[in-house]
């Protein structure tokens, strides 16, 4: 194999933690130096195993973390349905189930854990299951159709989840637990008993202190009965084993890596195994011998390894094993030192046998600090209590208030800023407040306005969800304290969002601002609503933006079809589709610049800008350009700017498709399209991505099979990488999706909201966009495409139309009463052989001697 220039990283296992590792590797830039290959044994990409039980209700799609089955970073390859069968640390090679060998520089094991099935006779009969994967649940569902009674072996957290599932499937359900109480790891005797009562009340039968001796079969070899030690056997049709989990460390063992006494790949606090190039994270890892069966510690481990591979010194220093869950409708939570194992600790309990609530707090010896606790039946306080343990903050005077029902007092705690609110994602209260106060949180220069946005930005609440109420409360408190009402009005004249305004205009078929503000607004409008209405009208009507009464709505750039510069002059940018230009046109641009004394510069958008044009010269400049076959580049408009291209397969030895051809076609298709903010595109001829397409609102990267379409990227102050919307498209499909995407954006985005923050603001984000654009879930597809076709058909060059219309031309004068006199306020200096604006100290007077014509 040829030596790789880029380093190769292989991840074994595409579960929750393996996925988080890849996400973090992408966002933290590890893929700048590494190609990542992820090998996953399951047929599906990673999904939310924590929410596995909801599979019956929501299906596999809703659980998936990666519905496309592909990361939108082309340097990550995901191979599913493939197992790693061997690791050779000496050769640094892994062998796959299909026989292929993969070389690695670094190997990350994220193989998770497997359910432990006690070796009782009959454990492998046909209707015996485990509860770990979507396939397991599918099999259980199928079997349940022909069954009446089911038993779950194991009354721990997962066992109760499984029991819940059987119950939901309509089976008479038994829980068989060896220990004297349910959830022995997490909660205490009293809590267990309270939980027991709840579960009994729901019609499930709990057998604690019961040992399973065998699963017995009928004559046909199917499960018939469960034999219990010293008890009557149970007649059952289905058995689900949930008696704990075991780290999947077989690969590591076979490869000669050190493993922990109780199982798990032995790693140190950097998550490095006994081989320096092999790391282990998640449930397969045993950090200094200890294994963690929750997802939050796994996520922490993933971050540490990414950090290490980036030469950081991150360490995994243990984890908060607190849990909160709703089992069969019963809240159960356990946090910190739930069993009061700290020396001298005190316990405070509250119990209400009638309503089935049990709460226990474990306090430090001096009663000042909270060490842990158990909540059964009502776990509302968990969101507040768990972070109190983590932050070690001092307790209030009467700590019992913390567990009394709200009606009997309860209390509103002022949490310290440094308190960790989300333990799954290590987010503090300060970070949440920052997200709602810092202007740079969102791309449009505004902070988050609600808790949903905060969750997206900080991840707080995105994993187990138990901290969500607290996140929401912090956000609401913050807004209450700062007196900020969340107002989505466009401006004082229109009490509606841009999207609502768009609908109003479209539905009524308005074409004049006056009618719109008279019917739906107040006052006479301003510099916010007028350009917004102008843009909406332009998107809907495809008319000339300077037609009739619309002229006065336009922002100054649109009003003069050029970009206003600091000294009151304008810049002129002819369209150069895809960046491709003939020498003749280049010469014309040079000649025009020379003739009108303009400064020229190559822009960041692959074209040429001519600066310093006086307003009254604009028509003559355009005429020259139009005559030479050029047209407006809309550098001034909230509209399509450029579709940047790389040279592509025509010349480049790596290119696999004609990127220039496609870029030109797209630029010509969408030119002149008015939108809520500017739109930029890019097309690269191969995965090397020389066109930087993924930093554009729509970016297209050629593949051997077609085109990958990425959407919602931008540069600017808050750069965003475009995300993969759909892969390997043929050109027609690509254009269809793009038409839909752009039109949907135009209709629903906020004013001055680029595509990235727009996608982020949609409920469901990119998945929602995919539903609408690719799956056509709203049935809007044809309508959106028709609207785009209409735009394409009615396109005309604004410059040409302006110079041909005397009425429009009348406005391009320096002074209404002295059309030929240049404004004396504009002057230039010389810089590197070209003009530059000279700074002005105040208005300049020409003196009274200039003869001025009277109006005719």
């Amino acid at each position: 194999m040829a030596p790789h220039l880029r380093k190769q990283l292989v991840v074994v296992g595409h579960g929750m933690v393996g996925h988080r590792f890849v996400e973090s590797a992408i966002s933290r830039g590890l893929t700048e130096t590494y190609d990542i290959t992820v090998i996953g044994e399951e047929s599906r990409p990673a999904y939310d195993r924590v929410a596995l039980t909801s599979f019956f209700e929501v299906g596999d799609k809703a659980l998936s973390f990666l519905p496309t089955g592909q990361y939108d970073d082309p340097r990550v390859t995901l191979r599913l349905g493939t197992e790693v069968v061997a690791i050779s640390p000496r050769q640094r090679v892994v062998t796959l189930s299909d026989g292929e060998d993969l070389a690695y520089d670094e190997l990350v094991m994220a193989t998770g854990a497997a359910p432990f099935v006690p070796p009782v006779p009959g454990h492998d009969l046909e209707n015996c299951f485990v509860y770990r994967t979507i396939e397991d649940l599918e099999a259980i569902r199928t079997a349940a159709k022909k069954a009446k009674v089911g038993a779950v072996i194991g009354g721990g957290l997962l066992g109760l989840e499984a029991a819940n599932a059987l119950h939901q499937l309509g089976l008479e359900t038994h829980v068989v637990e060896l220990a004297p109480r349910l959830m022995a790891v997490q909660i205490d005797d009293m809590g267990g008993r309270t939980l027991n009562r709840h579960i009994d009340g729901l019609g499930l039968t709990v057998h604690t202190g019961a040992m399973t001796e065998a699963v017995l079969a009928d004559k046909k070899g199917r499960v018939e009965r469960l034999a219990l030690k010293d008890r009557n056997p149970l007649d059952v049709d289905i058995v689900v084993f949930s008696a704990g989990i075991r780290p999947r460390d077989a690969l590591a063992r076979a490869a000669g890596l050190d493993v922990a006494e109780r199982g798990g790949v032995l790693v140190d606090e950097s998550l490095r195994s006994s081989d320096e190039h092999i790391w282990a994270i998640g449930e397969c890892a045993a950090v200094h011998g200890r294994m963690y069966g929750l997802v939050a510690p796994g996520y922490d481990m993933a971050e540490v390894v990414v950090d290490r591979l980036l030469d950081g010194d991150g360490e995994f220093t243990g984890a908060d094993m607190s849990t909160k869950l709703k089992l069969l409708g019963v809240d159960v939570a356990s946090f910190g030192d739930a069993h009061g194992e700290t020396e001298g600790s005190l316990e405070l309990t509250y119990q209400d046998a009638v309503s089935g609530v049990y709460k226990k707090l474990v306090l430090s010896e001096d009663g000042k600090r909270l060490l842990g606790g158990v909540l059964v039946g009502d776990a509302e306080a968990y969101g507040i209590l768990r972070p109190m343990v983590a932050s070690g903050m001092e307790l209030p005077e009467n700590p019992e208030e913390l567990i009394l029902p709200a009606s009997r007092g309860g209390l509103d705690l002022e949490m310290p800023d440094e308190m960790q609110v989300c333990s799954c994602n290590d987010v503090t209260k300060a970070q949440i407040k920052h997200a709602v106060s810092d202007e740079s949180t969102l791309n449009d220069g505004s902070p988050c306005a609600d808790a949903v946005c905060v969750t997206k930005h900080t991840r707080a609440g995105s994993t187990c969800g138990s901290c969500k109420p607290v996140v929401k409360k912090i956000v609401e408190d913050y807004f209450a304290a700062t007196g900020k009402a969340v107002d989505k009005s466009l401006c004082e004249h229109f009490a509606m969002t841009r999207q609502e305004l768009f609908e109003v205009v479209a539905v009524h078929g308005y074409n004049r601002f006056d009618d719109i503000i008279a019917g739906h607004g107040s006052g006479r409008g301003c510099d916010i609503c007028k350009p917004a209405v102008a843009s909406i009208l332009a998107s809907l009507l495809n008319h000339h933006v300077l037609d009739g009464s619309n002229r006065i709505l336009q922002d100054t750039n649109d009003a003069y079809l050029a970009n206003l510069q600091r000294n009151g002059t304008y810049s002129v940018v002819p369209r150069i589709p895809g960046g491709e230009i003939t020498p003749d046109k280049l010469i014309v641009i040079g000649e025009v610049a020379k003739e009108f004394g303009l400064y020229t510069k190559i822009t960041g958008g692959q074209r040429i800008d001519m600066f310093g044009a006086r307003m009254e010269d604009l028509p003559a400049i355009w005429k020259r350009l139009v005559d030479a076959g050029m047209e407006s580049g809309h550098a001034y408009g909230k509209s399509l700017r450029t579709v940047k291209s790389c040279v592509g397969s025509t010349w480049c030895r790596y290119g696999v498709q004609d990127s220039v051809g496609l870029a030109i076609e797209l630029e010509l298709r969408y030119r002149g399209l008015r939108s809520p903010h500017k739109l930029k595109g890019g097309v690269s001829g191969c995965a090397r991505e020389c066109a930087e397409a993924r930093s554009k609102d729509f970016g297209i990267i050629a593949t051997e099979k077609g085109w990958n379409l990425y959407v919602a990227g931008n540069g600017g102050a808050i750069p965003a990488h475009a995300q993969l919307l759909a892969g390997d498209l043929d050109k027609d499909t690509l254009i269809r999706y793009l038409d839909r995407f752009l039109m949907y954006y135009i209709r629903t985005a906020d004013r001055l909201q680029r595509t990235a923050p727009w996608v982020e603001s949609l409920d469901g984000g990119l998945d929602r966009v995919r539903e609408i654009v690719v799956d056509d879930a709203l049935g809007l597809g044809t309508e959106l495409e028709a609207a785009m076709d209409k735009h394409v058909e009615s396109y005309f060059d604004e410059w040409k139309a302006t110079i041909e219309d005397p009425e429009k031309m009348a406005r391009f004068v320096s002074f209404v009463n002295a059309p030929g006199v240049p404004d004396p306020n504009i002057s230039f200096r010389d810089e590197r052989g070209q003009i530059a604006p000279a700074d002005s100290d105040g208005p300049v007077s020409l003196g009274t001697s200039i003869p001025v014509g009277a109006p005719q």
Partner: protein, 125 residues
């Protein structure tokens, strides 16, 4: 608001009213100075120096004209095309920063012809 030197002699005809769009503006050269002349939706006409003191450029006539609620009042205003600061058309005072004002000029419309008069004294607000 008294036009201090609003004698007939100081008024200079600059254009016809119909040369200014409703809620639009033009620049006129009046005694060597660039003056922005605006027409509101109600056909009121105002004249301000064309020089934007924030952006330091002669551009105000190219701004968007509209109304803003200030206290109880609907104030006719122009937003600078450079950095969008709003100026009260009647007084020239910047609505967001009343310490800054642009000079205003007397203006009148007679028989459909707009004339600009003398620059007014600074308005104390």
């Amino acid at each position: 608001m008294v036009d201090e030197a609003a004698t007939d002699a100081t008024f200079e005809a600059v254009c016809r009213l119909d040369q200014i769009e409703k809620e639009g503006g033009v620049t006129a050269l009046v005694r060597g100075e660039a003056v922005a002349v605006f027409r509101t939706y109600e056909d009121e006409v105002f004249a301000l120096s064309n020089y934007d003191p924030f952006g330091k450029a002669s551009v105000l006539s190219r701004g968007i004209v509209g109304s803003k609620t200030v206290g109880e009042e609907q104030v006719p205003f122009v937003a600078s095309p450079l950095l969008k600061q709003p100026f009260d058309l009647r007084t020239g005072v910047c609505i967001d920063d009343p310490t800054v004002a642009v000079p205003t000029y007397a203006v009148r419309v007679v028989d459909g012809v707009v004339s600009v008069g003398a620059r007014r004294g600074t308005i104390q607000s």
